[in-house]
Symmetry: D3
Subunit: 162 residues, 6 copies
Amino acid sequence: MPKIAVYPGSFDPITIGHMDIIKRVSHIFDQVIVLVANSSDKKYLFTAEERADIVRKAMNQMDVKNSEVCIHDGLTTEFMKSRKAQVIVRGLRAVADFEYEGTLANMNYRIAPEIETFMIFSRPEYYFISSRGVKELARNGGDVTGLIPDFLGPALIKKLAD
Amino acid sequence: MPKIAVYPGSFDPITIGHMDIIKRVSHIFDQVIVLVANSSDKKYLFTAEERADIVRKAMNQMDVKNSEVCIHDGLTTEFMKSRKAQVIVRGLRAVADFEYEGTLANMNYRIAPEIETFMIFSRPEYYFISSRGVKELARNGGDVTGLIPDFLGPALIKKLAD
Amino acid sequence: MPKIAVYPGSFDPITIGHMDIIKRVSHIFDQVIVLVANSSDKKYLFTAEERADIVRKAMNQMDVKNSEVCIHDGLTTEFMKSRKAQVIVRGLRAVADFEYEGTLANMNYRIAPEIETFMIFSRPEYYFISSRGVKELARNGGDVTGLIPDFLGPALIKKLAD
Amino acid sequence: MPKIAVYPGSFDPITIGHMDIIKRVSHIFDQVIVLVANSSDKKYLFTAEERADIVRKAMNQMDVKNSEVCIHDGLTTEFMKSRKAQVIVRGLRAVADFEYEGTLANMNYRIAPEIETFMIFSRPEYYFISSRGVKELARNGGDVTGLIPDFLGPALIKKLAD
Amino acid sequence: MPKIAVYPGSFDPITIGHMDIIKRVSHIFDQVIVLVANSSDKKYLFTAEERADIVRKAMNQMDVKNSEVCIHDGLTTEFMKSRKAQVIVRGLRAVADFEYEGTLANMNYRIAPEIETFMIFSRPEYYFISSRGVKELARNGGDVTGLIPDFLGPALIKKLAD
Amino acid sequence: MPKIAVYPGSFDPITIGHMDIIKRVSHIFDQVIVLVANSSDKKYLFTAEERADIVRKAMNQMDVKNSEVCIHDGLTTEFMKSRKAQVIVRGLRAVADFEYEGTLANMNYRIAPEIETFMIFSRPEYYFISSRGVKELARNGGDVTGLIPDFLGPALIKKLAD
């Protein structure tokens, strides 16, 4: 049976930190599904379709073959069962992440004990990069080169100006 | 290429928390190697051979087929290269673990960037179980049933009395 | 003088984690008052009266005799003085709780130095259960059996559908 | 070249914890600029001008000579370049602060590597004092004497009543 | 049935932080037993008898009537059963304490589910005071006045010189 | 009056993480004194004189002019008074550091309130580098190039082989 990992998140927008994790995980599993969340009670800068397109473009650039991008609203575990995926992958940056992830992992275990959650540490050089930080920086006129995929820069600035 | 995970530790002795992680990981990877550390500057209650034997017995009891036990002194990454293993698995219980693991993962990344470290949360019911705690409890005459494999109880008490 | 403990919170809605703490605390103090917060600058799913009723029902089910439920808006310490209560009880799950509780305890100490705050750890099996998590799970169609009192399940689903 | 430190924050309103840090920092640097943030996507109780005036009054009371108050919206590093300031000063109270500050410091380093961020621990007696806590206390009719500059008490109560 | 709390620790030696906690707890419970640990695998500066005597003297000075000092080696829960004590009290200062205490509390719960552990925050002004810090300070010729009971100063200096 | 910062530590041996902090701090203060600790109750790999020599060599290589290396046993604050230094500088890497540093800073404040402690975050790329980690890596035959000053590699390997 192929081993399938799901990497869920908002990706609003994807950063080079996310991209690095996708690449690393793609070497370990037969397939990686990037799962773009679309929750009705959250506000996003980019629509779900835009966010998924950006992720797809970024994965093409990185030349990651065994991956796919999906949009999903609802329980991640439900999506995984429909795709026979066994592993949730989550990036860890800080202690605050750690606790939140622990709660999430245990919650998911209760719902779907056959699904495992694996945490992976961000590389130190990506520790300080978050989607929220990137947007704040761009909003204040800061330079975001090197924090997001190159093609995304102009689109982000345009979006924030809307 | 088969996906091989290595689960390194002291296992002095193995607890049901360790056993649970081995079982869970064995469902995800083609092979799991439990790597019993034997560091010259650490003191162990059980010898490396005893600790490895106990792990083997425990894995037999759990009916985990795709696993192996090895003893190793030195860099975990060196061992992994010799076995073409791609993933280090580590259990996470507390924030203190989290930081130590982050340092270790980054150190290993520097030495062997092709090797990934995956962290997995202990189930809540195993959070408070550590080899050290088990030994302390047994030393004070407390009951360790249910914290270590059943066959180990008498051996642990005998060892502590030596 | 009877020893009276106050257990303040939102209880929106009560979980089996809260229920366990109430039961444990009721063995130690002469009386336990569950204090349902009703803050004008917070949004609740259930009204204060509904939340208090649910707590009362849950305590009846657990057969906790020496307890009472009150609704309060304002400083917890003011309520406590009016009832000659000496101890605030708070549950601890994570490091984030810990820091928030420390701030709160010290703030309360400044206002009312004769009142003590006691923290009590959730049992490991309840670590991952929060009112917020339960609501999120139910909102996404997940099964919340065993996380909240049994009688509450249908009411929660109905409320979320409104 | 004179050494100039910038102490950025919301100061909504200033507390005696902030005041203590300003005083301590003023002994080390040639000049301290208190930078009152005015972000369009945040809600403040006091306007930027009011907050800056309160800080100025508080500094007069403390008799801190080598200081200045500015209002700024945008990247702190841009302001610093315009004033040739070298050091950002931040107060630390809790682990949560610590992680946030680490992210911020690294983000700023990326934008302006010549600017350093120095963290300074609050004195234990000010650990539990935050602008948010003070406002909550006052809103509930609690006594805030000794937590904010004396002259501010009536203004705070009036503002909250509006 | 009287409510009896046990406050276990090394008290090597007692600090004013410990003393403050004993005083505060003595107002809440019918009796407080300070349990001086005497573990064969730990090294202490003062003998168990000396440490217990110092605690007794300190409690006399504070005029705490409903307290007692005992020396114990072994499981705290065994001692408590022999005395029909229901509550273990522990002081909390930092996140590191928090995690250690959580493990301990859960371990004790497993052995003796009828015994509860209550954590109480040190007052901010005692956060930085530990027995270890006091000894280090005295060893380096620093002034420990106000950190330990006054009568203890000369004895501590003499002991360290031995 | 010149502003003098002291950077205390074991430096057993200095890493490129330490070197980066020295360089950064040297731009802010008139003088930086690297204070090599020599505590009688600690075991070091290198003697105090060797450690100080290595620091001096490393600072020459970095071309840091306004610095000095001293060896000291005892209270850091005593040394600082003798040199009229105002600021202790400490590097922060993890939450564990954070708490330890908070205790230390408050202890020093009690002894010498006129001395300030400033914390500075390690650059992300140096987060995972510690003297202890470097020694462990070298002891196991790992490559330490780029973690310590280049000239130190052979000396470290020789020292560990003794």
